[in-house]
Each structure stands twice: as C-alpha cells, then as structure tokens.
C-alpha cells in the first residue's frame, strides 16, 4: 500500500504556492532528494472535501506569503517564465484538482528544467497546459468583452467569469487606461481590481473585500438595467446604434454569432442589456 499525503490549503494562489513549498520540504524529507521512490504520493487539496482517501495523512498548511514568494522565485529561476505563467494561469482555473496537478508539474519541472513545458505526453504537464490554456483564453475573452460604465468619478465594470480572471487581465487595463480611475468587480469570485489615475493597480479580495462588499454590490445594482438611479450614458445608446447599423441584414447568421460570442459572456455587456 502506497503512502498518500494530502496537504490542505485555501484556494488562493498564495495559499497553494505555500502548500507547494511545504510539499517539497516533505517530499525531500520522506523520499530523499533523489526521490526515486516518489510516485506522486502528495496531493494538495483546495476544498474542504477531503474524503477522497480514507487512509491518507492530512496536513493543514496555513498561508505564508514568504514561502509563496520563494516558490514563485524558484519556479521562475529554475523552470523559466513560460512555466511560471502556465502555473499562475492554471491556478486561476476553478478545477478542484488544480493544486495537485500543478504540484505534479513542478516535481517534473524542478527535475528537468525548462524543457518540461513541451512534455505534453506527460499527464501532469498536459493537464496543467490545458488548465492554463482554458483560464488564459477565458481571461482574453474578458479583455475583449468587459464593458465599462462611465459613472462620473470612475469607470465601473461588473463581470461574472468562471475562472479567476482579474489577476490575468488587470495589467492589460492598467496599461491601456493609465489616466482613468477604474474598477472591475468579479461577482463570481468576490474580488475586485482597483486603479487610481496614474497609480499602480491593486486586487482587493478576501477580508478586505468582504468589508467593502456592500459598495460593490451597490455598483452592480446600479449597473443592472432595472435600477437606473443615475443619468443614462449617451454613449451607450450611440454604441448600440453603431452596432445596429453595422450589421448586414442580408448576411444574418446568428449561429455564427453564438459560436463566436457564447451567450454566457453577454450577461454584463452593454449591447446585450
């Protein structure tokens, strides 16, 4: 009977990277630096549901920013930026097994170096690649389809993605709108990106978010079509006019439109409200 270890952590990127750090410490202690005996015996679990292994050993890992930063630095240095990007994107995915898969990927990565990202024949590498591709593609869709509302003091946007896209898209808007105040509020994952004119952008999540959540819910309330408690934005009407006249009626093809812009993305888009 093989030994099975399950590390428990919260689902944040820092929490998982801390668990990865501890995972390697434990792996080296129990299986030796060479780790020839290691057969992916360590899992990292992000949810409370840890009934998957009856006889496994469970260890709680508290979040530790130092350890998380060390892990990140080690990945970048020893496996390269490409692998680091892959890992971060994969960790933004909602898959429950993401942490275990990333751990398996990193075990191979630290052994083999940069080349690991191309080893798509390997189960862990393939899965991490798939997760990172999915999260990355979804984030790109939100870069495309986020709609800001001009509410006077700032531009506001509400999104309901499946993956955590804010860490992946914030930099894009930071670069694009340096001279604007803007807020992107992720309703699904309960976090927000804030940007003040000419300042670096920040992510508000966890406790800090919960303390101010009433504020964001208020925005999303004001954002919905039912509650129009602020002045109607003229450019929203112009945008709808523009799209309407751009559409060539002779070439109507809604199936194609649905293919290219699946309906769940349209939830918070100005032109479909």
């Amino acid at each position: 009977m093989e030994e099975k270890l399950v590390l428990l952590c919260d689902g944040t990127i820092d929490g998982i990277l801390t668990a990865v750090y501890e995972g390697f410490v434990i792996k080296n202690q129990r299986f030796g630096m060479e780790s020839r005996e290691y057969r992916d015996n360590i899992d990292i679990c992000v949810s409370c549901n840890y009934n998957s292994y009856m006889f496994a050993e469970y260890i709680d890992i508290p979040k530790d920013y130092d350890k998380s930063l060390k892990t990140a630095a080690a990945i970048r240095k020893k496996i390269g930026e490409e692998a680091y990007n892959m890992v971060i994107k994969a960790l933004c995915h909602y898959d429950e097994e993401r942490a275990s898969l990333v751990f398996g990927f990193l075990v191979r990565g630290f052994k083999l170096g940069k080349g690991v990202v191309n080893m798509l024949g390997d189960k862990y590498v393939m899965k991490v690649m798939e997760l990172s591709r999915k999260a990355g593609n979804e984030a790109y869709r939100f870069i495309e389809h986020i709609r800001f509302k001009d509410m006077g003091e700032a531009l506001y946007s509400v999104i309901e993605p499946k993956c955590r896209v804010i860490p992946l898209i914030g930099a894009h808007f930071d670069e694009r709108y340096p001279n604007e105040n803007w807020i992107i509020y992720d309703k699904t994952n309960r976090e927000a990106a804030l940007h003040k004119c000419f300042q670096p952008w920040i992510i508000v999540s966890g406790d800090a978010f919960d303390r101010s959540s009433a504020f964001y819910d208020n925005i999303s309330g004001r954002n919905s079509r039912n509650l129009q408690c602020y002045e109607e934005d003229n450019y929203e009407e112009l945008w709808k006019t523009f799209l309407d006249s751009l559409y060539i009626k002779e070439r109507k093809n809604e199936r194609c439109q649905n293919n290219l812009l699946p309906k769940w993305y349209r939830k918070n888009m100005t032109e479909f409200m």
Partner: protein, 521 residues
C-alpha cells in the same frame, strides 16, 4: 450636394484643413449640420459596413503610462454582430458624400440616400469615449470622395492628427488611402496610422473599368506600392529585416517620433498653403531637418510607418472571375506588395443595379468562406495558388474545404507518420494546424506520440485520421482512396471499424475562433 465653399481656387481648397482646425464646420450641407450625432453615426457607419477589414492586429504597442491606449499584436474582437462579423474598430466614413459613381457602391453619387459628414473633433470624441468603455480597439476611417481625392485625404489626415496629437490617443488606427491622393498625404498619414489599406475592389482591371468608371487600376496600385516601399524602408531603418516580425513599438522612440511628426506637420501646412504647384521639385518636400523623397520614402530612423502593415479587399461575385483567378491575384498581392491581409467580400447588390448580378440572401457566402480558407493556406501553410486550383479545375469544392480537397487529390503524399514527418509535411495534413503541428514537433522530442496524445494537442482526428499514422499504424482500417475518403469527409461518417474500435471518441468542430483565439498573450 453643394458645399458652402464655392471658391474652387486650389489654394483656398487646401486651406480648409486650417479652417476646420479652428472649429469651423467642414461640411457645408444644411442637412449635415442639423442632424443629431446619433443620426450621423447611423448614416456613416451604415455606409462603412461593406468594408470588410475590421482587424486590430499586427502591432504591439505598450501603453506609455500617461495617455490612453495600447495595441495587442494578435488583435482584440470586442463584439460580434448577428451576421457573425467581429467588431473591433469604430468603422465609419468621414463622409458618405461622393463625386464618384461606382455601380456597386451604396454611396455612389447617383443614389438618393441621406448624406452626412463628421467633423474631425466629432470623430475624435466618439473614438475616445468608445475606447474608454472598452467597446473598441481604435478607429477605422474611410471616406467617400468629397470634392477631390486630395481634399478628402487632407480632412482624414486632419482627423488622425488631432486624434493622436491633441486627444493623445495611443490605440489602433486603420486608415483607407484614397486612390488618386497625393503621395505626401499618404506618407504623412502613414506615420500616424497603424495600418493602411487601398481597396483593389475587383480582381481584374476590366471589372474595375466596367463597374467603377471613375477609378482606374493604376491609381489603386500606386499608393499600394508607395505604402509598401515606405513600410520596407522603415522596417530596415528600425533594424527589422525579416518581413514577418511584428513591430514592437517602444516608448522613448515613440515620443521622439511625435516630435518629428510635429515638424512634418509644419512642413505640410506650408505645402498645403502654397498648393502643390508651388513646389518646384514635384516629388520632393522638406520635412523637418531632412529632405525626404516622397514615394521613395527615405524617412527617418525611429519613426514608424504603418507598423501593422497594409491590407486590401476585393468584391467577389460581381464580375465573372473564377476562384483560380482570384487566388492567383491574391498570391501576387502577397508576393509583390507584401500585404498583411487580402479580404474578400461576397457581393451584395445593394443598389439593385440591373447591370450587376442579383443576389439573394446569403449567396456567395460559402464562396467567400472557401477563399478565406485558401488564403490561410497561402499565408501560413506554404501552399501555392497553382497547387490548389488549375485552369481545368478553377473553382473550389463546395462540399469539402480546400485543404482536404488538395489532400484527397494528392494521396501519394500520405499517410504521414506523426513521429517522423517534418513540420511542413505535418502542416499539409487536413486537421493539423499551425499550433498543433508546432506542439507535435515539440512534444515528440520527449517520447513518441499516440492518437490520444495528438488529439489532446488539438489535432482534429475526424479529418486527420485518413492521412496519418502513429508509430506506423493508422487509427482505423481505412482505404487510401480518393472517393472513399471524400465521401467520409463530406458525410462525416465514421469508418466501419471505428464504431467497434472506440465509441468514446469525440470530435470537435473547427471554427473561426480556432484561428483567432490567442492563447499566448
């Protein structure tokens, strides 16, 4: 429609550029002044919608930290209209008034349609406000021909100049060059725009003569050549010798460039005030410190000329060219003019003109689709036009795509061994695209691949399985026979043994997002 500037004297005509800078209305039509912004936008975007290109790709420009805007190399589609077309740019005409009378065009002078004209400031404000709400990537500006090609082009230059320099817009700008406009205007716009295009309109000069009596082939090809030369020289000056490398624009250079453009602007003002005749060497104009030959585009270092390259479009189905003819023209355009893209537009008889073929809903769309597929094969897959079609077989198969069609007619090249074949051979297999071919090459260094592996890498086995082997074996027992494979490809029938072999195999339909989705951003 009559313009308020009744003076047709050349020098006054050129001064209008300054007039509109001072906020005077450009268009003199009473209608244009009275209609609302919404109505104007409706008229001028409706009139622009038959222009096909709406891409925002080809140049990476990071934000400068001060003003609004950045561009992304692979482009961004912000929305899709119910006809399934992507909306990336604010695609509008400066004016839909036109002195030309092209038979196929909704804006032809003989049509009785509502006319409107924007002012440069209106366009700038609209672009900026749409941009900050993340509706668009930038501006696509085209125009009907108001008074003369030069006059129109100057107004467009004025608009782009204001957008860049006064409104400090750093996003994507695509400008249509008006055939017949002076090369100095084309050059100056080129330094402000990301992409330029000149519409070829029809694949042949005959078609153009028949349907666009005021245009001629030479006037279209001249600016195309000028832009090409400009791009080439400029890339060399910026140290890029390979024509496929994307321009990455860096900040310090861009600021430097802005100063140069300001100097040019003064030069151009002088030029427009005195009129082109006052210039003794016809093709030479003093730009800043250096003398540059327009048309030759010597230019200066650290300036970017049309960094995203140029494109063109042609209307398909209004004249009687075959597909073979069209893709040969396309190939020549890519080879001789270094175009980034050629766009095709299935003809719609908007004017119900009796001289033109009538069109019913959706006619020609499949043909357009096949041409785009072939276009991809020319640009990314190393195919030549002559391989795809011939004089005897001048049209694409409407049942199967051009790549499958080629493959079933060249079975002598197949089957291909996934673990051995080189990149270019893999690219020729139906169901394997650029991305999956690259993934296969990278992954097989670490061990040999199975059908299951390559399926995960994005290979569409539904099409590929007839043409490949993994470790020397085919996926199922199939016949290497043209009729057999064609039938299976058309009716999407699994080979007989497939059902027994593995009923769990699932396939995904390839669609356009496979080509445009951008995973490595």
């Amino acid at each position: 429609m009559e313009l308020n500037g009744t003076d047709t004297d050349k020098s006054t005509e050129h001064m209008t550029v300054d007039a509109c800078r001072e906020g005077k209305p450009v268009s003199g039509t009473i209608l244009a002044e009275n209609i609302s912004m919404e109505e104007k936008l409706r008229i001028l975007s409706d009139a622009a919608k038959y222009d096909v290109a709406c891409t925002s790709s080809g140049v990476d420009r990071k934000g400068n930290g001060k003003t609004m805007g950045s561009t992304v190399g692979c482009g961004i589609c912000h929305s899709f209209t119910p006809d399934g077309r992507c909306v990336s740019l604010l695609k509008i005409l400066f004016t839909n008034e036109c002195i030309f009378d092209c038979k196929y065009c909704i804006n032809r002078s003989s049509n009785d349609v509502p006319r409107a004209t924007f002012t440069p400031d209106e366009i700038c404000r609209l672009t900026i406000e749409f941009y900050r709400r993340n509706y668009i990537e930038g501006l696509f500006l085209s125009s009907g021909i108001l008074r003369s090609p030069n006059y129109t082009m100057e107004l467009m230059y004025e608009t782009i100049y204001k957008l860049r320099k006064e409104w400090r817009f750093n996003g994507y700008v695509h400008v249509k060059a008006i055939p017949g406009a002076d090369s100095i205007l084309v050059e100056n716009i080129g330094y402000l725009a990301d992409r330029m295009s000149v519409n070829l309109e029809f694949p042949t000069a005959d078609g153009l003569k028949k349907l666009a009596p005021h245009k001629n082939r030479k006037n279209i090809l001249t600016p195309m050549k000028e832009i090409q030369t400009g791009i080439e020289n400029n890339r060399h000056m910026n140290g890029i010798d390979n024509k496929y490398t994307r321009m990455e624009i860096d900040d310090a250079k861009y600021l430097e460039e802005s100063r140069n453009i300001l100097e040019d602007r003064l030069g151009l003002n002088k030029y427009t005030l005195n009129g082109p005749e006052s210039h003794i060497p016809h093709n030479e104009v003093n730009i800043g410190k250096k003398t540059s030959l327009t048309g030759g585009y010597v230019g200066t270092k650290s300036r970017y000329f049309v960094p995203a390259g140029q494109s063109t479009q042609m209307i398909v189905g209004a004249t009687d060219e075959s597909d073979y003819h069209i893709i040969n023209v396309t190939e020549a355009l890519y080879d001789n003019y270094d175009l980034k893209r050629v766009f095709y537009s299935a003809f719609i008889n908007v004017n119900n003109d009796a001289d033109l073929p009538s069109t019913v809903n959706g006619a020609g769309l499949l043909r357009e689709h096949r041409l785009y597929q072939a276009d991809w094969l020319l640009r990314f897959y190393g195919f030549k036009a002559k391989e795809l079609l011939s004089e005897d077989n001048p049209y694409f198969n409407d049942k199967i795509d051009p790549k499958c069609d080629w493959a079933v007619r060249h079975l002598e090249h197949f089957p291909v061994e996934i673990n051995k074949a080189d990149y270019y051979t893999l690219l020729r297999v139906p169901g394997i695209g650029v991305k999956s071919a690259k993934r296969i090459i990278a992954a097989r260094r670490h061990g040999s691949l199975t059908f299951d592996d390559i399926k995960k890498m994005g290979v569409v086995l539904k099409r590929a399985l007839y043409f490949i082997t993994c470790k020397g074996r085919m996926m199922y027992q199939t016949k290497l026979e043209e009729k057999y494979i064609t039938n299976h490809l058309i009716y999407n029938e699994p080979p007989h043994s497939m059902l027994a072999g593995g009923s769990s195999v699932t396939y995904t339909q390839m669609n356009i997002s496979d080509f445009i989705s951008c995973e490595d951003w």
